[in-house]
Structures are given as C-alpha cells and as structure tokens.
C-alpha cells in the first residue's frame, strides 16, 4: 500500500512540473506566434519532423527493454558480467558495435538493465557511449566530414573516454544508490521482489507475445510523453535562436566550447544527423568546440534528460549531467590548447 501512495505522490509532483512547463511553453508559443508570422507553421513542421524521426527508434527501445525485462534473468546477467569492474565498464562502452541504437532508444534499455542488476558504472558507460561509438553514427560522421578519418577516430575515442570516465566515477561515487525509478502502473510490486518470476502465469492468462506487447505499450506511454516535450522545446529553440549570437564567440577558446555544448544540448539532434550540422561550423568555430558538440550531443541533450528524469532518480540524473558536462568541457578546452 505504501508503495502505491509514494507512487501517487511522485506522479502528482511530476505532473505539476510538466503542466507548468507546458503552460509556459504554450503561452510562449502563442506570444511569439502573434509576433512573427509563419512561426507556428515552422514550429509544427520541425516538431513533427523530430517526432517522426525519433518514433521508430523509441518504439524499438521500448521493445528491447521490454524483452530484457521479461526474458532476461537477473542471475544470468550476473554470470555474464566480467568480474573486474574497470574491464566491465570498458566492455560496456564498446557494446554499441553489437547494439547500434541511438540516444532515443538507449534510456529505457539502460533502465531495464539496471533493474536486472547490472552495476551502475557499466550502465552509465553503456548509456553514454553507445549513441556515439556505434557503426551507424561513425559512418554518418565519416560521410559528413568528407572522409576525414581524424574526426571520426577522435569522436569515437573521446566518446569512449568520457563514457568510461563518467561511468567509473559515478559507479564508485553512487555505490549504495539505486537509481532506477519505478514508474509503470501495476508492475510496481513485481519489481520490488526482483528477479525471475516474470514469466507468464501457468494458469494461462497471457501469451508471451501479448505480454510483451502490453509491456511495450506501457513503456512507450512512459517514454513518449517526455519525447513530445523534448521535441517541442528543441523545435522552439531551433526556430528562435539567432545563430549570429553564437558566431560572435566562435574563435574564443573557452566561450566557443560552452556555446556549442549549449547548442548540442538544446537542439537534441539525432546522433546520426548532428555531424552534418557540426560540419557547417568548421572554420567559424574552434576545433575543440566542434569536438565537444559531437561528443556531448548524443550523450546528453534536452530530450534525453527528460527521458532520464522519468527513468532514474533526480540525484543520479543531476550527478550524471554535471560530470558529463565537466568532462566534455575539459576535453574541448584541452583540444583547443593542443590546437586540434
């Protein structure tokens, strides 16, 4: 019973913030819409564009995480994990070559892995690295930068390093913290006693497929609403932010990195598309800032943060965001000092 009450409280509080954001966003849109003709038309096209582009991947993520939840046994997971934690973190960061999913799909998968007992450090490395260190994203980077292998290798290497660093750091810092949030309706009790009795009941209620679909549907309901808010915010930013302001700081070693990190976070581009946008900055922005843009975007963006707050505890998300930001900022500055 207590569990249910906590959950009700959580939903109300979350709902309040989201409603507040929506009201602000809505009134902002109407205000701007009345001032600039065609704004809402453009906003709608970009908003729906982001949603349609992300939809297949979000559904895939919901499906995979439901599969993990229903059919992966926690004991089996414990057996597969490497005994050495550092080795495990490095291996997790390279898993993108096996599961090349982008940043929309990765959050629910990571949550169900954490619930199956995967250590936090490995889960974080997986979450951060997979959207960068995977063949599809690296191929699109190669194509966008007209075959400049240096950029591709640097992006992969930096993505890997940041993911391993943040994973290792958070893994040791948040040792006793259980970050995965319980959110979905009737499953709450089920999670609490953990492992393996998630199989369909023997009295023949649901077939495996029906159960999988029902779970996917709930997962998609949970993820989808944050996707919608994230897409709306990104589309608003995209239509409103004058790029000249950014260009003014393009040659500054520090400010250019900060500006492009801000842009990567706010625009929430798909990690398959962001290299094409990054290319247009070449020559106007420092090399380190472009690298920071390419590394931060897939790891952490507005849309992703909203998905994360739904799936994980506030403490965890704040720590994760702060550490990742700091690591990428340091990397960008370092690259600028060495004149990349």
């Amino acid at each position: 019973m207590r569990l249910r009450e906590d959950r009700a409280l959580h939903v109300t509080r979350n709902g309040f913030w989201v409603l507040l954001m929506l009201v602000l966003l809505g009134s902002g849109l109407v205000w701007i819409g009345s001032a600039r003709a065609g704004f809402l038309q453009g906003f709608t096209m970009m908003f729906l564009g982001i949603l349609l582009e992300a939809l297949p991947f979000v559904l895939l993520g919901a499906l995979i995480s439901s599969l993990v939840h229903l059919h992966l046994n926690a004991d089996a997971v414990a057996h597969m994990l490497p005994k050495n934690p550092q080795l495990g973190i490095c291996a997790a960061a390279l898993l993108g070559f096996l599961v090349p999913v982008c940043e929309c799909a990765i959050v629910p998968i990571t949550r169900s892995l954490v619930r199956k007992g995967v250590p936090l450090g490995m889960a974080v490395a997986f979450l951060l690295a997979v959207p960068i260190v995977n063949p599809i994203v690296l191929a699109s980077t190669y194509y966008a930068f007209a075959g400049a292998w240096g950029v591709v290798l640097l992006r992969a290497l930096c993505g890997f390093l940041v993911a391993v660093f943040v994973g290792d750091y958070l893994g040791s810092r948040l040792k006793d913290h259980y970050p995965a949030r319980n959110t979905r309706f009737h499953e709450t009790e089920e999670w609490e006693h953990g492992h393996s009795h998630n199989r369909p009941p023997a009295n023949g209620g649901l077939t495996a497929v029906r159960r999988l679909l029902e779970h996917t549907s709930e997962e998609f309901f949970g993820v989808g609403r944050y996707l919608i808010i994230g897409a709306a915010l990104s589309a608003a930013l995209q239509t409103l932010l004058p790029r000249q302001w950014l260009a003014a700081v393009g040659q500054s070693n520090l400010l250019s990195v900060v500006a492009l990190m801000f842009l990567a976070y706010g625009l929430s581009l798909c990690s398959e598309a962001d290299a094409f946008i990054a290319r247009t900055f070449v020559g106007h922005f420092t090399g380190g800032s472009i690298l920071a843009f390419l590394v931060l975007g897939p790891m952490l963006d507005l849309k992703g943060t909203l998905l994360l707050t739904d799936a994980f505890s506030g403490t965890f998300v704040r720590r994760l965001a702060a550490t990742t930001f700091a690591a990428v900022l340091a990397l960008g500055l370092l690259a600028n000092c060495f004149g990349f």
Partner: protein, 250 residues
C-alpha cells in the same frame, strides 16, 4: 470491480490515431516534408508496431487486473495530433531558417576540408552546367573551391527566390533547402544572383535561372578577410511551379 479502463481506452485510441495519421502522410506523399525518404521503411515498421500496440491495449480495456486512470500524459499525446490538423504540411519558409546569416546560406552545406573532389558530370567546356537535385551540393562545393575554373561558364538552375535585407538592389539568392534527417535540421543553401530586374521577383517564387558564373569580392565579417565568391550573372528567368520534391536529400 469491473469499471471500464478509461486510461487504456484512450491510450489505445491515441495509438491508433497516430498510426492512421502517419499512414495518411504516406498515402498523400507528404512524409518527405518531415523526414528524409531513407527513414520511410523504419517509419512503416513503426506504423505496424503502433497498430499492434493499439490492439493489445484495446484488449486491456475491459480487463480488471490493470486499471489506469486518464492522466496528463494522455493529453500531451493529443498535442502533435492537434498541431498536425491546425497546420497542414508545407515546406519551411526562409524566414524561419535565415537565422544562420547570409554567409552561412551562400557557403551552405559546403565545408572547406574536402581533400578529394567528386567528379562532376557534364562539364565539357562549351556545355551548360545544369544544376539539379542530384549534383546541387557537389557543384556548389566545386564553385566555391575552384571558382576560377568556372568563371564564364553558363549555368542553369532551379530554386526559389530568397531576398536577404543585406543584399544590394540587384541581388537575390537562388536557394534550395537541404534536409539531412528531418525538417528540424533543414538548411538553406543557394547561389548569389545578380539580376537588373530583381524587383519583378517575388520572394518564395520558384524559378529556373540561366546565367554566367562570375566572381565577387566578399568581406567575411567572422574571419575579417575578403574572399572571392562565385555568383551568377543572370540573363534569363523563368517562373515555374514548385517541384514535386521541394527539399534536397543528400
């Protein structure tokens, strides 16, 4: 307790509606205004998945073991459907996209780090260079990196009229929009045109232009340098209908 499961009912309807709306975009071939055509297969699978989920949720409506109330989440899912109804799909306007500054538009998708040039078709010396959807990006690229090679060549190109406030009274940009993934990453790119009768042109009008390549000094404020910029000395303008494929998809 056998109450109808309102949350499940609404959610099932929303999933079905979403699937049908995307199906409509497919059938009316308006999907390309939102996303790159290479994403179409993935989206078709997504429609099937949405329908399956809708059916599976529908079966929960009268089951007593799960009850979900209507929540703010459901209302949120109405937002995209509502907006889609209120604003029928069309190409983005330059006003929305011009925030990159004119130089970004003219330099467009071109980056100055291409070591290898892709071979350009139909470049025999006496032939007109016809710029189409296929070769738009590579020819723009070539015009910028080897301007001298092309000076004096005749060019034919389709695009829409974009008039930037900083341009001179005879100048306009013959522009196209480029979509790499979805409408949110659309970029405008184009060729500077000089045309004495520019005032007869309406911004946004689709035209086919014939002209001769020349070069102009251009002061690049960001790098504080003067560079040579290709432009088109226009001698013929023909108004045309907008093409079936408005964007260029690299």
């Amino acid at each position: 307790m056998r109450r109808a499961n309102a949350g499940a009912l609404l959610w099932s309807l929303l999933l079905g509606l979403a699937a049908l709306s995307i199906l409509y975009l497919f059938l009316s071939s308006k999907l390309a205004l939102f996303i790159h055509p290479r994403m179409e297969k993935a989206l078709a699978l997504a429609v099937v998945m949405l329908l399956l989920l809708s059916v599976s949720t529908w079966r929960q409506v009268r089951s007593s073991e799960t009850y979900s109330p209507i929540s703010w989440g459901h209302i949120l899912f109405l937002l995209p459907l509502l907006l889609a109804l209120m604003y029928p799909p069309q190409m983005l306007t330059p006003e929305i996209l011009s925030q990159k500054g004119l130089f970004g538009v003219l330099r467009g998708p071109v980056a100055n780090l291409n070591e290898e040039q892709r071979p350009l078709p139909a470049l025999a010396q006496d032939q007109t260079i016809v710029i189409d959807d296929e070769n738009f990006i590579s020819i723009m690229d070539a015009l910028w990196s080897n301007t001298d090679t092309y000076v004096g060549r005749e060019v034919e190109m389709l695009g829409f009229v974009y008039i930037d406030p900083v341009l001179g009274p005879q100048d306009f940009v013959l522009a196209r929009l480029i979509m790499t993934c979805c409408a949110a990453d659309a970029q405008m790119a184009g060729l500077l045109c000089r045309y004495p009768e520019r005032n007869s042109l309406v911004p946004g009008q689709w035209i086919t232009v014939r002209g001769t390549i020349g070069k102009l000094p251009y002061y690049n404020g960001a790098e504080k340098t003067v560079i040579e910029m290709p432009y088109l000395e226009v001698f013929q303008v023909r108004k045309v209908e907008k093409p079936p494929q408005e964007y260029i998809y690299p």
